[in-house]
Protein backbone atom coordinates (compact mmCIF):
# COMPACT_ATOMS: atom_id res chain seq x y z
CA UNK A 1 0.00 0.00 0.00
CA UNK A 2 1.22 3.46 -0.83
CA UNK A 3 1.29 5.76 2.16
CA UNK A 4 0.73 8.74 -0.08
CA UNK A 5 -2.13 8.31 -2.57
CA UNK A 6 -1.27 8.53 -6.24
CA UNK A 7 -1.27 11.74 -8.23
CA UNK A 8 -4.63 11.30 -9.92
CA UNK A 9 -6.44 10.40 -6.69
CA UNK A 10 -4.93 13.43 -5.00
CA UNK A 11 -5.77 15.70 -7.94
CA UNK A 12 -9.41 14.63 -7.88
CA UNK A 13 -9.56 15.44 -4.16
CA UNK A 14 -7.87 18.81 -4.67
CA UNK A 15 -10.37 19.68 -7.41
CA UNK A 16 -13.19 18.99 -4.96
CA UNK A 17 -11.40 21.07 -2.33
CA UNK A 18 -11.29 23.94 -4.81
CA UNK A 19 -15.00 23.58 -5.55
CA UNK A 20 -15.86 23.36 -1.84
CA UNK A 21 -14.01 26.64 -1.19
CA UNK A 22 -16.65 28.31 -3.35
CA UNK A 23 -19.55 27.09 -1.19
CA UNK A 24 -19.15 30.12 1.10
CA UNK A 25 -22.32 31.21 2.87
CA UNK A 26 -24.41 28.49 1.23
CA UNK A 27 -23.27 26.08 3.96
CA UNK A 28 -24.46 28.21 6.86
CA UNK A 29 -27.68 29.15 5.05
CA UNK A 30 -28.55 25.50 4.36
CA UNK A 31 -27.74 24.44 7.92
CA UNK A 32 -29.98 27.18 9.31
CA UNK A 33 -32.74 26.25 6.85
CA UNK A 34 -32.31 22.56 7.71
CA UNK A 35 -32.28 21.48 4.09
CA UNK A 36 -29.81 20.87 1.34
CA UNK A 37 -30.15 23.24 -1.63
CA UNK A 38 -30.52 20.95 -4.62
CA UNK A 39 -28.41 23.25 -6.79
CA UNK A 40 -25.41 22.10 -4.74
CA UNK A 41 -26.26 18.48 -5.51
CA UNK A 42 -26.59 19.40 -9.19
CA UNK A 43 -23.13 20.98 -9.08
CA UNK A 44 -21.72 17.79 -7.59
CA UNK A 45 -23.30 15.90 -10.47
CA UNK A 46 -21.77 18.29 -13.01
CA UNK A 47 -18.42 18.03 -11.27
CA UNK A 48 -18.52 14.26 -11.63
CA UNK A 49 -18.38 13.53 -7.89
CA UNK A 50 -21.65 11.60 -7.70
CA UNK A 51 -20.63 9.15 -10.42
CA UNK A 52 -17.02 8.78 -9.43
CA UNK A 53 -17.43 5.26 -8.00
CA UNK A 54 -19.42 4.05 -11.01
CA UNK A 55 -17.39 2.27 -13.73
CA UNK A 56 -16.82 4.05 -17.02
CA UNK A 57 -18.89 1.40 -18.86
CA UNK A 58 -21.89 2.58 -16.82
CA UNK A 59 -21.22 6.26 -17.50
CA UNK A 60 -19.25 7.00 -14.36
CA UNK A 61 -15.68 7.96 -13.66
CA UNK A 62 -14.39 4.57 -12.51
CA UNK A 63 -12.28 6.17 -9.79
CA UNK A 64 -10.82 4.14 -6.96
CA UNK A 65 -12.24 3.76 -3.47
CA UNK A 66 -9.09 5.56 -2.28
CA UNK A 67 -9.97 8.56 -4.47
CA UNK A 68 -13.56 8.48 -3.20
CA UNK A 69 -12.37 8.45 0.42
CA UNK A 70 -10.12 11.46 -0.25
CA UNK A 71 -13.01 13.30 -1.92
CA UNK A 72 -15.36 12.53 0.99
CA UNK A 73 -12.73 13.89 3.38
CA UNK A 74 -12.67 17.14 1.39
CA UNK A 75 -16.46 17.40 1.31
CA UNK A 76 -16.70 16.71 5.05
CA UNK A 77 -14.00 19.25 5.89
CA UNK A 78 -16.17 21.84 4.14
CA UNK A 79 -19.64 20.52 4.90
CA UNK A 80 -20.28 17.29 6.79
CA UNK A 81 -24.02 17.26 5.94
CA UNK A 82 -23.18 17.10 2.26
CA UNK A 83 -20.52 14.43 2.72
CA UNK A 84 -22.87 11.93 4.36
CA UNK A 85 -25.43 12.29 1.56
CA UNK A 86 -22.73 11.69 -1.06
CA UNK A 87 -21.32 8.75 0.89
CA UNK A 88 -24.70 7.04 0.96
CA UNK A 89 -25.59 7.93 -2.65
CA UNK A 90 -22.34 7.09 -4.37
CA UNK A 91 -20.92 4.58 -1.90
CA UNK A 92 -23.76 2.38 -0.71
CA UNK A 93 -26.60 2.93 -3.19
CA UNK A 94 -24.74 3.30 -6.49
CA UNK A 95 -22.11 0.82 -5.28
CA UNK A 96 -24.74 -1.85 -4.57
CA UNK A 97 -26.39 -1.37 -7.97
CA UNK A 98 -23.01 -1.51 -9.73
CA UNK A 99 -22.06 -4.69 -7.88
CA UNK A 100 -25.35 -6.59 -7.84
CA UNK A 101 -27.50 -4.96 -10.53
CA UNK A 102 -28.27 -6.40 -13.95
CA UNK A 103 -27.21 -4.47 -17.06
CA UNK A 104 -30.80 -3.23 -17.35
CA UNK A 105 -30.89 -2.08 -13.72
CA UNK A 106 -27.56 -0.31 -14.06
CA UNK A 107 -28.66 1.48 -17.21
CA UNK A 108 -32.02 2.43 -15.71
CA UNK A 109 -31.06 3.58 -12.21
CA UNK A 110 -27.43 4.72 -12.16
CA UNK A 111 -27.93 7.93 -14.20
CA UNK A 112 -30.33 9.21 -11.51
CA UNK A 113 -27.62 8.72 -8.90
CA UNK A 114 -24.93 10.44 -10.97
CA UNK A 115 -26.52 13.48 -12.62
CA UNK A 116 -27.33 15.47 -9.49
CA UNK A 117 -31.12 15.32 -9.63
CA UNK A 118 -30.99 14.01 -6.05
CA UNK A 119 -29.19 11.71 -3.66
CA UNK A 120 -30.10 8.03 -3.44
CA UNK A 121 -31.30 6.48 -0.17
CA UNK A 122 -30.71 3.15 1.53
CA UNK A 123 -33.51 1.84 3.75
CA UNK A 124 -32.40 -0.82 6.20
CA UNK A 125 -33.07 0.59 9.68
CA UNK A 126 -36.57 0.22 11.16
CA UNK A 127 -38.16 1.59 14.34
CA UNK A 128 -37.49 -1.71 16.13
CA UNK A 129 -34.33 -2.86 14.33
CA UNK A 130 -31.16 -0.75 14.36
CA UNK A 131 -27.97 -2.58 15.20
CA UNK A 132 -29.93 -5.84 15.01
CA UNK A 133 -30.64 -5.19 11.33
CA UNK A 134 -31.66 -8.76 10.53
CA UNK A 135 -34.68 -8.41 12.82
CA UNK A 136 -36.39 -6.18 10.26
CA UNK A 137 -40.16 -6.53 9.90
CA UNK A 138 -40.77 -5.07 6.44
CA UNK A 139 -42.16 -7.72 4.14
CA UNK A 140 -42.39 -8.39 0.41
CA UNK A 141 -45.05 -10.76 -0.88
CA UNK A 142 -45.42 -12.23 -4.31
CA UNK A 143 -48.25 -10.67 -6.25
CA UNK A 144 -48.70 -11.81 -9.84
CA UNK A 145 -45.49 -11.08 -11.75
CA UNK A 146 -44.17 -8.73 -9.09
CA UNK A 147 -44.02 -7.89 -5.41
CA UNK A 148 -45.99 -5.99 -2.80
CA UNK A 149 -43.79 -4.29 -0.17
CA UNK A 150 -45.09 -3.29 3.26
CA UNK A 151 -43.12 -1.82 6.13
CA UNK A 152 -41.80 1.18 7.96
CA UNK A 153 -38.21 2.42 7.72
CA UNK A 154 -36.55 4.86 10.11
CA UNK A 155 -33.70 7.43 9.99
CA UNK A 156 -33.30 7.24 6.21
CA UNK A 157 -30.60 9.64 4.98
CA UNK A 158 -31.65 11.88 2.03
CA UNK A 159 -35.17 10.36 1.84
CA UNK A 160 -36.54 13.78 0.89
CA UNK A 161 -34.02 14.25 -1.94
CA UNK A 162 -33.91 10.70 -3.22
CA UNK A 163 -34.94 9.66 -6.73
CA UNK A 164 -34.81 6.04 -5.56
CA UNK A 165 -34.31 3.94 -2.48
CA UNK A 166 -32.85 0.50 -1.96
CA UNK A 167 -35.26 -1.05 0.53
CA UNK A 168 -34.62 -4.24 2.48
CA UNK A 169 -37.69 -6.40 3.11
CA UNK A 170 -38.24 -10.03 4.03
CA UNK A 171 -39.73 -12.52 1.62
CA UNK A 172 -41.48 -15.29 3.57
CA UNK A 173 -41.52 -15.73 7.33
CA UNK A 174 -38.55 -15.33 9.71
CA UNK A 175 -36.84 -18.64 10.37
CA UNK A 176 -35.61 -19.60 13.83
CA UNK A 177 -31.82 -19.64 13.88
CA UNK A 178 -31.58 -17.92 10.46
CA UNK A 179 -32.44 -14.31 11.23
CA UNK A 180 -31.48 -12.99 7.80
CA UNK A 181 -33.39 -15.63 5.85
CA UNK A 182 -35.54 -14.19 3.11
CA UNK A 183 -34.20 -10.63 3.36
CA UNK A 184 -34.25 -9.17 -0.15
CA UNK A 185 -33.08 -5.83 -1.59
CA UNK A 186 -35.52 -3.94 -3.85
CA UNK A 187 -34.85 -0.85 -5.94
CA UNK A 188 -37.88 1.36 -5.47
CA UNK A 189 -38.44 4.73 -7.19
CA UNK A 190 -39.51 7.30 -4.63
CA UNK A 191 -42.47 8.34 -6.79
CA UNK A 192 -43.92 4.80 -6.70
CA UNK A 193 -47.44 4.69 -5.36
CA UNK A 194 -47.44 3.90 -1.63
CA UNK A 195 -44.00 5.31 -0.81
CA UNK A 196 -44.58 7.84 1.97
CA UNK A 197 -41.81 10.06 3.35
CA UNK A 198 -42.46 11.09 6.94
CA UNK A 199 -41.62 14.48 8.45
CA UNK A 200 -37.90 15.29 8.62
CA UNK A 201 -36.33 14.36 11.94
CA UNK A 202 -35.16 17.23 14.14
CA UNK A 203 -31.54 16.33 14.85
CA UNK A 204 -28.60 17.50 16.98
CA UNK A 205 -26.29 17.91 14.00
CA UNK A 206 -26.03 17.38 10.24
CA UNK A 207 -29.01 19.70 10.03
CA UNK A 208 -28.94 20.15 6.25
CA UNK A 209 -28.83 16.40 5.66
CA UNK A 210 -32.32 14.99 5.51
CA UNK A 211 -33.17 12.15 7.88
CA UNK A 212 -36.74 10.94 7.56
CA UNK A 213 -38.93 7.92 8.02
CA UNK A 214 -40.06 6.15 4.85
CA UNK A 215 -43.24 4.10 4.79
CA UNK A 216 -43.94 1.40 2.20
CA UNK A 217 -47.71 1.08 2.09
CA UNK A 218 -48.41 -1.80 -0.27
CA UNK A 219 -45.89 -0.59 -2.81
CA UNK A 220 -46.07 -2.68 -5.97
CA UNK A 221 -42.88 -3.29 -7.93
CA UNK A 222 -41.95 -5.70 -10.71
CA UNK A 223 -39.53 -8.58 -10.63
CA UNK A 224 -36.99 -6.22 -12.17
CA UNK A 225 -36.88 -4.31 -8.85
CA UNK A 226 -35.12 -7.19 -7.09
CA UNK A 227 -31.43 -6.34 -6.62
CA UNK A 228 -29.33 -9.49 -6.66
CA UNK A 229 -31.30 -12.60 -5.78
CA UNK A 230 -34.35 -13.10 -3.60
CA UNK A 231 -33.22 -13.91 -0.07
CA UNK A 232 -29.70 -12.52 -0.59
CA UNK A 233 -30.43 -8.97 0.54
CA UNK A 234 -28.73 -9.18 3.91
CA UNK A 235 -25.38 -9.90 2.28
CA UNK A 236 -25.94 -6.92 -0.04
CA UNK A 237 -26.73 -4.71 2.95
CA UNK A 238 -23.68 -5.87 4.87
CA UNK A 239 -21.39 -5.38 1.86
CA UNK A 240 -22.90 -1.93 1.38
CA UNK A 241 -22.24 -1.09 5.02
CA UNK A 242 -18.61 -2.22 4.74
CA UNK A 243 -18.10 0.34 1.98
CA UNK A 244 -20.25 2.87 3.83
CA UNK A 245 -18.01 2.57 6.88
CA UNK A 246 -14.98 3.61 4.83
CA UNK A 247 -17.05 6.61 3.75
CA UNK A 248 -17.97 7.57 7.32
CA UNK A 249 -14.35 7.09 8.39
CA UNK A 250 -13.34 9.53 5.64
CA UNK A 251 -16.12 11.92 6.70
CA UNK A 252 -14.82 11.76 10.29
CA UNK A 253 -11.28 12.51 9.09
CA UNK A 254 -12.56 15.56 7.21
CA UNK A 255 -14.47 16.84 10.24
CA UNK A 256 -11.51 16.34 12.57
CA UNK A 257 -9.08 17.92 10.11
CA UNK A 258 -11.27 20.99 9.69
CA UNK A 259 -11.71 21.33 13.46
CA UNK A 260 -7.95 21.23 14.05
CA UNK A 261 -7.31 23.75 11.25
CA UNK A 262 -9.90 26.15 12.60
CA UNK A 263 -8.65 25.80 16.16
CA UNK A 264 -5.08 26.48 15.02
CA UNK A 265 -6.10 29.56 13.06
CA UNK A 266 -8.15 30.90 15.94
CA UNK A 267 -5.47 30.06 18.50
CA UNK A 268 -2.91 32.07 16.56
CA UNK A 269 -5.13 35.14 16.57
CA UNK A 270 -6.67 34.92 20.03
CA UNK A 271 -4.49 36.57 22.65
CA UNK A 272 -4.75 36.06 26.39
CA UNK A 273 -2.26 37.15 29.04
CA UNK A 274 -0.48 39.11 26.30
CA UNK A 275 0.26 36.20 24.00
CA UNK A 276 -1.50 34.11 21.32
CA UNK A 277 -3.18 31.18 23.07
CA UNK A 278 -1.32 28.67 20.85
CA UNK A 279 1.74 29.55 22.90
CA UNK A 280 0.21 27.72 25.86
CA UNK A 281 0.95 24.04 26.28
CA UNK A 282 -2.66 23.49 27.32
CA UNK A 283 -3.69 24.46 23.79
CA UNK A 284 -0.75 22.93 21.92
CA UNK A 285 -0.89 19.43 23.34
CA UNK A 286 -4.53 18.62 22.50
CA UNK A 287 -4.03 19.99 18.98
CA UNK A 288 -0.88 17.95 18.52
CA UNK A 289 -2.67 14.80 19.64
CA UNK A 290 -5.67 15.59 17.43
CA UNK A 291 -3.46 16.09 14.39
CA UNK A 292 -1.69 12.79 15.03
CA UNK A 293 -5.07 11.09 15.28
CA UNK A 294 -6.29 12.71 12.05
CA UNK A 295 -3.32 11.23 10.21
CA UNK A 296 -3.74 7.83 11.86
CA UNK A 297 -7.46 7.80 11.04
CA UNK A 298 -6.78 8.75 7.42
CA UNK A 299 -4.25 5.96 7.05
CA UNK A 300 -6.75 3.44 8.48
CA UNK A 301 -9.45 4.68 6.09
CA UNK A 302 -7.13 4.56 3.09
CA UNK A 303 -5.91 1.07 4.04
CA UNK A 304 -9.50 -0.21 4.05
CA UNK A 305 -10.15 1.61 0.75
CA UNK A 306 -6.99 0.18 -0.85
CA UNK A 307 -7.96 -3.36 0.21
CA UNK A 308 -11.36 -2.87 -1.37
CA UNK A 309 -9.76 -1.61 -4.58
CA UNK A 310 -7.54 -4.70 -4.61
CA UNK A 311 -10.59 -6.95 -4.29
CA UNK A 312 -9.44 -8.20 -0.88
CA UNK A 313 -11.56 -8.63 2.27
CA UNK A 314 -11.82 -5.37 4.18
CA UNK A 315 -14.70 -5.81 6.63
CA UNK A 316 -12.45 -5.74 9.71
CA UNK A 317 -10.31 -2.89 8.38
CA UNK A 318 -13.40 -0.82 7.51
CA UNK A 319 -14.76 -1.35 11.03
CA UNK A 320 -11.39 -0.36 12.54
CA UNK A 321 -11.20 2.77 10.39
CA UNK A 322 -14.77 3.78 11.20
CA UNK A 323 -14.34 3.11 14.92
CA UNK A 324 -11.08 4.99 15.29
CA UNK A 325 -11.85 7.89 12.95
CA UNK A 326 -15.30 8.61 14.37
CA UNK A 327 -14.04 8.56 17.96
CA UNK A 328 -11.00 10.67 17.02
CA UNK A 329 -13.44 13.19 15.54
CA UNK A 330 -15.19 13.44 18.93
CA UNK A 331 -11.92 14.24 20.67
CA UNK A 332 -10.73 16.64 17.97
CA UNK A 333 -13.96 18.64 17.88
CA UNK A 334 -14.19 18.70 21.69
CA UNK A 335 -10.67 20.09 21.95
CA UNK A 336 -11.26 22.55 19.12
CA UNK A 337 -14.29 23.98 20.94
CA UNK A 338 -12.13 24.28 24.08
CA UNK A 339 -9.55 26.32 22.14
CA UNK A 340 -12.29 28.71 21.07
CA UNK A 341 -13.47 29.02 24.69
CA UNK A 342 -16.76 30.85 25.05
CA UNK A 343 -16.81 31.67 21.35
CA UNK A 344 -16.69 27.95 20.61
CA UNK A 345 -20.09 27.59 22.19
CA UNK A 346 -21.60 30.28 19.96
CA UNK A 347 -23.29 29.50 16.66
CA UNK A 348 -21.52 32.44 15.02
CA UNK A 349 -18.25 30.48 15.04
CA UNK A 350 -18.82 27.35 13.03
CA UNK A 351 -16.69 25.16 15.26
CA UNK A 352 -19.71 24.11 17.32
CA UNK A 353 -21.33 22.80 14.12
CA UNK A 354 -18.41 20.45 13.52
CA UNK A 355 -18.74 19.21 17.11
CA UNK A 356 -22.47 18.56 16.66
CA UNK A 357 -21.97 16.95 13.25
CA UNK A 358 -19.18 14.71 14.53
CA UNK A 359 -21.50 13.17 17.11
CA UNK A 360 -23.41 11.20 14.49
CA UNK A 361 -20.31 9.48 13.17
CA UNK A 362 -19.99 7.08 16.12
CA UNK A 363 -23.63 6.06 15.63
CA UNK A 364 -24.65 5.69 12.00
CA UNK A 365 -23.43 2.95 9.65
CA UNK A 366 -23.05 0.87 12.82
CA UNK A 367 -22.32 2.25 16.29
CA UNK A 368 -18.84 2.09 17.79
CA UNK A 369 -20.07 -0.87 19.80
CA UNK A 370 -21.10 -2.70 16.61
CA UNK A 371 -17.68 -1.93 15.08
CA UNK A 372 -16.01 -3.50 18.13
CA UNK A 373 -18.25 -6.55 17.70
CA UNK A 374 -17.27 -6.84 14.03
CA UNK A 375 -13.56 -6.50 14.84
CA UNK A 376 -13.74 -8.93 17.77
CA UNK A 377 -15.69 -11.50 15.74
CA UNK A 378 -13.09 -11.31 13.00
CA UNK A 379 -10.25 -11.72 15.50
CA UNK A 380 -11.89 -14.72 17.11
CA UNK A 381 -12.74 -16.41 13.82
CA UNK A 382 -9.14 -16.00 12.66
CA UNK A 383 -7.72 -17.55 15.84
Amino acid sequence: MRLDPGGTDRELALAVRGWARGLGPRVGDAERAGSLALDVVRELGDLGVLGMTVPERDGGLGASTVAFALVLEELAAAWPSLAVGVSVNSGIVAGSIVRYGTAEQRARWLPALMDGRGLGAFALTEPTSGSDAAALRSSARREGEGWRIRGQKQFITSARYAPLVIALARVGEPEPGRPHAGITAFIVPMDASGVVVGPAESKTGLLASDTSAVGFEDVRVGDDAVLGAVGKGFAIAMAGLDGGRVGIAAQSVGIARAAVARALAYGRERRQFGTPVVEFEGVRFPLARARAEVDAARLLALRAAALRDAGLPFTREAAMAKLFASEAAQRATYDAVQVFGGYGFMREYEIERYARDARATTIYEGTSEVQRLVIARSLLSAA
Binding site: T8, A15, V16, G18, G22, L47, G48, V49, L61, A63
Partner: protein, 257 residues
Protein backbone atom coordinates in the same frame (compact mmCIF):
# COMPACT_ATOMS: atom_id res chain seq x y z
CA UNK B 1 -14.15 29.49 -34.44
CA UNK B 2 -10.75 28.75 -33.01
CA UNK B 3 -9.44 30.33 -29.82
CA UNK B 4 -5.92 30.28 -28.46
CA UNK B 5 -5.58 31.30 -24.82
CA UNK B 6 -2.12 32.31 -23.60
CA UNK B 7 -1.65 31.61 -19.93
CA UNK B 8 1.01 31.95 -17.28
CA UNK B 9 1.62 29.82 -14.24
CA UNK B 10 2.02 32.01 -11.16
CA UNK B 11 2.15 31.50 -7.38
CA UNK B 12 -1.35 30.68 -6.13
CA UNK B 13 -3.13 33.66 -4.60
CA UNK B 14 -3.30 31.82 -1.26
CA UNK B 15 0.51 31.53 -1.06
CA UNK B 16 2.28 33.69 1.48
CA UNK B 17 5.17 34.93 -0.65
CA UNK B 18 8.64 35.21 0.83
CA UNK B 19 11.56 37.14 -0.67
CA UNK B 20 14.46 34.95 -1.82
CA UNK B 21 18.03 35.16 -0.52
CA UNK B 22 19.12 37.29 -3.51
CA UNK B 23 16.45 39.90 -2.64
CA UNK B 24 15.62 40.10 -6.34
CA UNK B 25 13.18 37.22 -6.60
CA UNK B 26 10.71 35.31 -4.50
CA UNK B 27 11.67 32.12 -2.63
CA UNK B 28 10.34 29.30 -4.80
CA UNK B 29 10.34 26.56 -2.14
CA UNK B 30 6.95 25.31 -1.04
CA UNK B 31 4.99 27.44 -3.52
CA UNK B 32 1.71 26.15 -4.92
CA UNK B 33 1.43 27.20 -8.56
CA UNK B 34 -1.79 28.06 -10.40
CA UNK B 35 -3.04 29.64 -13.59
CA UNK B 36 -2.95 33.43 -13.28
CA UNK B 37 -6.48 34.61 -12.38
CA UNK B 38 -7.01 36.87 -15.43
CA UNK B 39 -5.90 33.99 -17.65
CA UNK B 40 -8.54 31.81 -15.97
CA UNK B 41 -11.14 34.41 -16.94
CA UNK B 42 -9.81 34.25 -20.51
CA UNK B 43 -10.21 30.47 -20.52
CA UNK B 44 -13.75 30.81 -19.17
CA UNK B 45 -14.69 33.32 -21.93
CA UNK B 46 -13.40 30.95 -24.59
CA UNK B 47 -15.09 27.90 -23.05
CA UNK B 48 -18.39 29.78 -22.91
CA UNK B 49 -18.17 30.14 -26.71
CA UNK B 50 -17.49 26.41 -26.88
CA UNK B 51 -20.55 25.76 -24.68
CA UNK B 52 -22.64 27.80 -27.15
CA UNK B 53 -21.14 26.19 -30.27
CA UNK B 54 -19.61 22.73 -29.95
CA UNK B 55 -17.54 23.22 -33.11
CA UNK B 56 -15.46 25.86 -31.30
CA UNK B 57 -11.89 24.78 -30.56
CA UNK B 58 -10.10 26.17 -27.51
CA UNK B 59 -6.33 25.71 -27.35
CA UNK B 60 -3.98 26.89 -24.63
CA UNK B 61 -0.30 27.74 -24.67
CA UNK B 62 2.26 28.87 -22.15
CA UNK B 63 5.91 29.82 -22.21
CA UNK B 64 7.64 28.84 -19.01
CA UNK B 65 9.54 26.23 -17.02
CA UNK B 66 8.63 22.53 -17.13
CA UNK B 67 6.34 22.86 -14.11
CA UNK B 68 4.04 25.02 -16.28
CA UNK B 69 2.76 21.75 -17.75
CA UNK B 70 0.54 21.46 -14.65
CA UNK B 71 -1.17 24.74 -15.51
CA UNK B 72 -1.84 23.50 -19.05
CA UNK B 73 -3.17 20.24 -17.62
CA UNK B 74 -5.53 22.24 -15.42
CA UNK B 75 -6.77 24.18 -18.45
CA UNK B 76 -7.39 20.88 -20.28
CA UNK B 77 -9.30 19.62 -17.22
CA UNK B 78 -11.49 22.74 -17.40
CA UNK B 79 -12.45 21.71 -20.95
CA UNK B 80 -9.84 23.11 -23.33
CA UNK B 81 -9.12 20.91 -26.34
CA UNK B 82 -5.35 20.94 -26.65
CA UNK B 83 -2.26 22.54 -25.17
CA UNK B 84 1.26 23.52 -26.18
CA UNK B 85 4.18 24.08 -23.83
CA UNK B 86 7.11 26.24 -24.88
CA UNK B 87 9.76 25.45 -22.30
CA UNK B 88 12.23 27.93 -20.96
CA UNK B 89 13.69 27.56 -17.50
CA UNK B 90 15.13 31.09 -17.76
CA UNK B 91 13.13 34.12 -16.67
CA UNK B 92 12.37 35.71 -20.04
CA UNK B 93 11.59 39.28 -21.01
CA UNK B 94 8.00 40.03 -22.02
CA UNK B 95 9.20 40.65 -25.59
CA UNK B 96 10.86 37.23 -25.87
CA UNK B 97 7.72 35.56 -24.46
CA UNK B 98 5.59 37.46 -26.99
CA UNK B 99 7.85 36.39 -29.86
CA UNK B 100 7.63 32.74 -28.80
CA UNK B 101 3.85 32.98 -28.49
CA UNK B 102 3.66 34.62 -31.93
CA UNK B 103 5.42 31.59 -33.42
CA UNK B 104 2.81 29.28 -31.86
CA UNK B 105 -0.02 31.54 -33.06
CA UNK B 106 1.34 31.57 -36.60
CA UNK B 107 1.39 27.79 -36.59
CA UNK B 108 -2.00 27.24 -34.91
CA UNK B 109 -3.76 30.01 -36.88
CA UNK B 110 -6.50 30.81 -34.35
CA UNK B 111 -9.22 33.36 -35.05
CA UNK B 112 -8.94 34.90 -31.61
CA UNK B 113 -6.03 35.06 -29.18
CA UNK B 114 -7.02 35.74 -25.59
CA UNK B 115 -4.64 36.70 -22.79
CA UNK B 116 -5.30 37.78 -19.25
CA UNK B 117 -4.79 41.53 -19.05
CA UNK B 118 -1.83 40.99 -16.72
CA UNK B 119 -0.25 38.17 -14.74
CA UNK B 120 -0.70 38.29 -10.99
CA UNK B 121 3.00 37.70 -10.24
CA UNK B 122 4.52 40.83 -11.78
CA UNK B 123 1.39 42.76 -12.87
CA UNK B 124 3.29 44.20 -15.86
CA UNK B 125 0.63 43.58 -18.52
CA UNK B 126 3.19 43.66 -21.32
CA UNK B 127 2.92 40.31 -23.09
CA UNK B 128 -0.55 40.74 -24.63
CA UNK B 129 0.10 44.07 -26.37
CA UNK B 130 3.59 42.89 -27.41
CA UNK B 131 2.06 39.74 -28.94
CA UNK B 132 -0.45 41.82 -30.93
CA UNK B 133 2.42 43.96 -32.15
CA UNK B 134 4.53 40.93 -33.08
CA UNK B 135 1.61 39.46 -35.03
CA UNK B 136 0.51 42.74 -36.52
CA UNK B 137 -3.02 42.04 -35.30
CA UNK B 138 -5.54 44.48 -33.80
CA UNK B 139 -5.64 44.52 -30.03
CA UNK B 140 -8.47 45.19 -27.57
CA UNK B 141 -7.97 45.50 -23.81
CA UNK B 142 -10.19 45.18 -20.72
CA UNK B 143 -12.46 42.54 -22.29
CA UNK B 144 -15.41 41.36 -20.19
CA UNK B 145 -17.58 39.63 -22.78
CA UNK B 146 -17.20 38.25 -26.25
CA UNK B 147 -20.07 37.36 -28.60
CA UNK B 148 -20.35 36.77 -32.33
CA UNK B 149 -21.66 39.87 -34.10
CA UNK B 150 -22.82 40.85 -37.57
CA UNK B 151 -19.38 42.11 -38.57
CA UNK B 152 -17.26 39.54 -36.80
CA UNK B 153 -16.99 39.73 -33.04
CA UNK B 154 -18.56 41.99 -30.44
CA UNK B 155 -15.94 42.77 -27.85
CA UNK B 156 -17.32 44.18 -24.61
CA UNK B 157 -14.93 46.32 -22.60
CA UNK B 158 -15.24 47.69 -19.12
CA UNK B 159 -14.73 51.45 -18.93
CA UNK B 160 -15.24 53.91 -16.12
CA UNK B 161 -18.91 53.84 -15.13
CA UNK B 162 -20.09 51.54 -17.90
CA UNK B 163 -18.99 49.51 -20.88
CA UNK B 164 -18.20 49.87 -24.56
CA UNK B 165 -18.87 47.38 -27.34
CA UNK B 166 -16.20 47.23 -30.04
CA UNK B 167 -16.37 45.13 -33.14
CA UNK B 168 -13.49 43.41 -34.87
CA UNK B 169 -13.07 40.96 -37.69
CA UNK B 170 -10.78 38.08 -36.73
CA UNK B 171 -7.94 37.63 -36.29
CA UNK B 172 -7.68 39.69 -33.15
CA UNK B 173 -5.84 39.71 -29.82
CA UNK B 174 -7.93 40.58 -26.77
CA UNK B 175 -6.86 41.01 -23.17
CA UNK B 176 -9.37 39.79 -20.63
CA UNK B 177 -10.31 41.74 -17.52
CA UNK B 178 -12.97 39.32 -16.26
CA UNK B 179 -15.79 37.07 -17.34
CA UNK B 180 -19.46 37.29 -16.39
CA UNK B 181 -19.27 33.86 -14.79
CA UNK B 182 -16.54 32.83 -12.42
CA UNK B 183 -14.06 30.46 -14.12
CA UNK B 184 -15.38 26.91 -13.99
CA UNK B 185 -13.80 24.26 -11.78
CA UNK B 186 -12.08 21.37 -13.50
CA UNK B 187 -14.56 18.49 -13.41
CA UNK B 188 -13.39 15.09 -12.22
CA UNK B 189 -13.99 13.50 -15.66
CA UNK B 190 -12.13 16.50 -17.12
CA UNK B 191 -9.13 15.74 -14.91
CA UNK B 192 -9.16 12.09 -15.99
CA UNK B 193 -9.42 13.06 -19.68
CA UNK B 194 -6.69 15.67 -19.34
CA UNK B 195 -4.38 12.98 -17.94
CA UNK B 196 -4.64 11.08 -21.20
CA UNK B 197 -3.90 14.03 -23.49
CA UNK B 198 -0.45 14.60 -24.90
CA UNK B 199 1.00 18.07 -24.41
CA UNK B 200 3.51 18.76 -27.18
CA UNK B 201 6.62 20.64 -26.10
CA UNK B 202 8.68 23.17 -28.02
CA UNK B 203 11.79 25.09 -27.13
CA UNK B 204 12.60 28.71 -27.85
CA UNK B 205 14.91 27.81 -30.74
CA UNK B 206 12.11 25.97 -32.56
CA UNK B 207 10.03 29.14 -32.16
CA UNK B 208 12.85 31.13 -33.75
CA UNK B 209 13.56 33.04 -30.53
CA UNK B 210 17.01 33.79 -29.20
CA UNK B 211 16.47 35.27 -25.75
CA UNK B 212 18.10 38.58 -25.13
CA UNK B 213 15.59 41.31 -25.85
CA UNK B 214 16.42 44.43 -23.84
CA UNK B 215 14.70 44.45 -20.48
CA UNK B 216 14.86 46.19 -17.15
CA UNK B 217 16.16 44.10 -14.25
CA UNK B 218 14.70 43.83 -10.77
CA UNK B 219 17.12 45.72 -8.52
CA UNK B 220 15.48 45.01 -5.17
CA UNK B 221 12.48 43.11 -3.89
CA UNK B 222 11.22 43.78 -0.41
CA UNK B 223 8.13 43.18 1.68
CA UNK B 224 6.28 46.13 3.20
CA UNK B 225 7.65 47.10 6.61
CA UNK B 226 6.01 45.36 9.54
CA UNK B 227 3.22 47.43 10.97
CA UNK B 228 3.70 48.69 14.49
CA UNK B 229 1.30 47.68 17.22
CA UNK B 230 -1.95 49.55 17.50
CA UNK B 231 -2.87 51.52 20.56
CA UNK B 232 -6.18 51.36 22.40
CA UNK B 233 -7.42 54.55 24.02
CA UNK B 234 -9.96 54.24 26.76
CA UNK B 235 -12.08 57.32 26.21
CA UNK B 236 -14.88 58.50 28.43
CA UNK B 237 -17.57 61.08 28.01
CA UNK B 238 -20.25 61.95 25.49
CA UNK B 239 -19.81 61.74 21.71
CA UNK B 240 -18.50 65.32 21.44
CA UNK B 241 -15.97 64.79 24.20
CA UNK B 242 -14.77 61.50 22.70
CA UNK B 243 -14.48 63.09 19.24
CA UNK B 244 -12.35 65.90 20.69
CA UNK B 245 -10.04 63.41 22.39
CA UNK B 246 -9.70 61.38 19.17
CA UNK B 247 -8.97 64.51 17.12
CA UNK B 248 -6.35 65.59 19.65
CA UNK B 249 -4.69 62.16 19.64
CA UNK B 250 -4.67 62.04 15.83
CA UNK B 251 -3.09 65.49 15.66
CA UNK B 252 -0.62 65.38 18.53
CA UNK B 253 0.30 61.69 18.87
CA UNK B 254 -0.30 60.09 15.46
CA UNK B 255 0.38 63.38 13.65
CA UNK B 256 -1.87 62.41 10.77
CA UNK B 257 -4.23 65.42 10.80
Amino acid sequence: MKFLVCLKQVPDSTVRVKVGGDRRSIAAEGITWSISPYDEYAIELALERKDADASTVVSVVTVGPARSRDALRQALAMGCDDATLVTSEADLSALDVAKALAAVVNEAKPDVVLCGKQASDDDQGLVGPALAEALGWPHVGMLTKLVPGASGLELWREVEGGHEVWSAAPPVVALVHKSEKEPRYPSLPGIMKAKRKEIPEKDLASCGVTPGAPRPEVALMDLPPQRGQGKVWKLDGDAKGVAEQVAKALREEAKVV
